[in-house]
């Protein structure tokens, strides 16, 4: 069973080929990883999947449906959610409001309902569900604080909570552990694993922390200069000479 398939996806910006002929099949229900040196095209792959870029060539399929020409909001509705490398929260709004915005995509309330007080019932449910989600991510105490004033780790967690509010089946995490110390990233990873089990998600993550990637991912793709140079399970990647040469280098030996 596979949920997301990229077929020969290529993304060119003028003369630069950011992603070159990249194919991947993400199996359903797994945590998988996408790694590679800086500028390898990992985030471009995410942007193609979430509809911000239309692949120059090739196609993307999600649950047997071609999604490469859909706008971002329709892709979200199809069940793909993501977080960003540089956190993108609605910084003037409270943590609760951030999560409530995430629930908007599945709400049946129409925009004209509030003046007629027809929105109250569903809005109450959304508020309750948003609070539950915040509780799950240890953010209940800061629910009313502006998202921009939260500490860094809390902002990372809030971004994941907001993504989960859209009720996805597939979650893309762009460097979730960036800027965290080893203990924090271990905690985050156990949180991600438990969330995956609770919500029955398929997760694809970009990460530079090799300990994290090798620890949670069951399948890894390695990009370099836009091309896929290796794929396979962590052991396979660990021992692949091309990968060691291109990316892991000494760091690999340290964690091995």
């Amino acid at each position: 069973m596979s949920s997301l398939i990229l077929k020969n996806a290529t993304m060119r910006f003028g003369g630069i080929t950011a992603v070159n002929n990249f194919s991947m099949t993400v199996p359903e229900g797994c945590i998988t990883g996408l790694i590679g040196p800086n500028g390898a095209g990992k985030t471009t792959v995410f942007n193609m999947i979430t509809g911000f870029y239309t692949p120059t060539e090739g196609s993307i399929h999600f649950n047997d449906r071609q999604i490469s020409h859909l706008p971002p909001h329709k892709i979200c509705k199809a069940g793909i959610a993501r977080t960003f490398q540089n956190i993108r929260l609605f910084s003037t709004q409270s943590a609760l409001q951030n999560v409530m915005v995430g629930f908007h995509v599945r709400q049946s309330n129409q925009w004209w309902m509030p003046p007629l007080f027809l929105h109250l019932r569903e809005e109450k449910q959304i508020r309750r569900k948003a609070m539950e989600l915040l509780e799950r991510f240890h953010l209940r105490d800061v629910a009313d604080m502006p998202a921009g004033s939260l500490p860094y780790g809390a902002q990372r967690r809030l971004e994941i909570a907001r993504a989960l509010a859209t009720d996805p089946t597939f979650l893309l995490l762009d460097e979730p552990a960036a800027g965290m110390n080893p203990q924090e990233s271990t905690e985050l990873m156990s949180l991600i694993t438990s969330v995956r089990n609770d919500y029955n998600l398929t997760i694809l993550l970009i990460e530079h922390d090799m300990k994290v990637v090798m620890g949670v991912c069951s399948h890894i793709w390695v990009l370099e200069y836009g091309s896929c140079i290796a794929e396979g399970d962590p052991d396979h990647i660990r021992n692949n000479p091309k990968v060691i040469e291109a990316y892991l280098g000494e760091e690999y030996l340290k964690y091995a």
Partner: protein, 364 residues
């Protein structure tokens, strides 16, 4: 929780009662000049709140408000003028028969004004809202100018540059404040619901909003059209209140006045827009004093027309330099905050970055 809601409704009802009593008192005891200023406060508040929805809450820098007001004012006027007035006043070109006989009472005429302005808003929004930031401002400014030029050049419908005089003065203080309360009700209920969260999400980070499944183009158009509707309503009320309109009235300065109210009151605060329109409308009138001739000792200084705008610009500069977020920032008045003022203040002290010990950037 429940008692709070009931208490808040009671307070709102009480406040409305006090407002009604005040307006009744003002109508009977104040000079017509002061009553006129009160009318202007209400109309400016309607316009400021509608612009704040577009600019302050959805983050679209729009300078097209005068255009929508012009559309609203002309549409409403054409509906409430009597056929006789139309026949005698249209001197440049005769008016088409169908328009001469077109007549509606005041309330539906104002609604029509809003709807037509809203339709024009939709028409301009679809091509223009693909732009962002300053470009959108320039495009909407151009739109407002186009409207003005078009109105000047279709004399068979608008009586061209001569304008329209003797518009029935239906817009009493009751209509104006009634419409203000209606505007506030609609816009506040939208902003308090999840739709409001969506508007603010688009303002804060459009890319993240689109990733969260928000059709940002739809919501931007929606916000723009609602704003245009109430701008049309405001224009209609203004036309009927001052009983004469001409194309020159709806120039850029009108938009600028409204923008000034919104920015001074606080972008993203409805309360700020209301306070801003009260303060600025009254100040615009009170400052007329500085334009009168005055004497220092034996020196006679002739009055300088336009002097109050100089003082006004200075005040605006001071606001921008010392309080860039406006009088209220994005804060809103609510009954809860009034009743829990002491606790609320304590809470705010903790939240404010820098002052709070626990949240000041500490990694978690």
């Amino acid at each position: 929780m429940k008692t709070n809601t009931q208490r808040n409704w009671a307070c709102t009802a009480l406040a409305l009662g006090i407002l009604a009593w005040f307006l009744y008192y003002a109508q009977n005891n104040f000079s017509p000049y002061t009553v006129q200023i009160l009318n202007l406060v209400a109309i400016n508040a309607i316009l400021a709140v509608s612009l704040n929805l577009i600019y302050g809450f959805t983050g679209m820098f729009s300078l097209g408000h005068a255009g929508f007001m012009a559309i609203g004012a002309y549409v409403c006027t054409l509906f409430i003028l009597s056929p006789d007035q139309k026949v005698t006043m249209w001197m440049l070109e005769d008016m088409p028969e169908i328009l001469v006989n077109m007549n509606l009472p005041f309330f539906p005429a104002v609604i029509m004004a809003g709807i037509v302005a809203c339709l024009f808003g939709l028409l301009i929004a679809i091509p223009v809202l693909r732009l962002g930031g300053d470009y959108l401002g320039i495009a909407t400014l151009g739109f407002a100018e186009i409207i003005r030029v078009v109105i000047t050049n279709i004399p068979s419908i608008t009586n061209g540059a001569l304008g329209i005089k003797g518009i029935p003065a239906h817009a009493t203080i009751w209509w104006n404040y009634g419409w203000l309360i209606f505007t506030l009700f609609i816009i506040c209920s939208l902003l308090k619901s999840n739709v409001g969260n969506v508007f603010k999400a688009i303002r804060d980070d459009e890319i993240a909003a689109r990733t969260m499944g928000i059709n940002s183009f739809f919501y931007r158009v929606l916000s723009f059209c609602i704003g245009a509707f109430f701008a049309g309503v405001g224009g209609a009320l203004m036309g009927s209140m001052i009983s004469t309109i001409d194309p020159k009235m709806f120039n850029f300065m009108l938009t600028f006045n409204i923008l000034m109210i919104v920015v001074a009151g606080g972008l993203g605060s409805i309360t700020g827009s209301i306070i801003g329109s009260v303060v600025i409308t009254f100040m615009l009138e009170l400052l007329r004093v500085v334009e009168d001739p005055f004497s220092i000792g034996s020196f006679e200084i002739a009055g300088v027309p336009g002097m109050r705008m100089v003082i006004f610009s200075l005040l605006l500069l001071i606001i921008i330099i010392f309080r860039r977020e406006g009088l209220l920032g994005t804060r809103e008045f609510s009954w809860n905050s009034l009743f829990f003022m002491p606790r609320y203040l304590k809470m705010r002290k903790q939240i404010e970055p820098g002052s709070g010990k626990d949240f000041g950037g500490r990694a978690h």
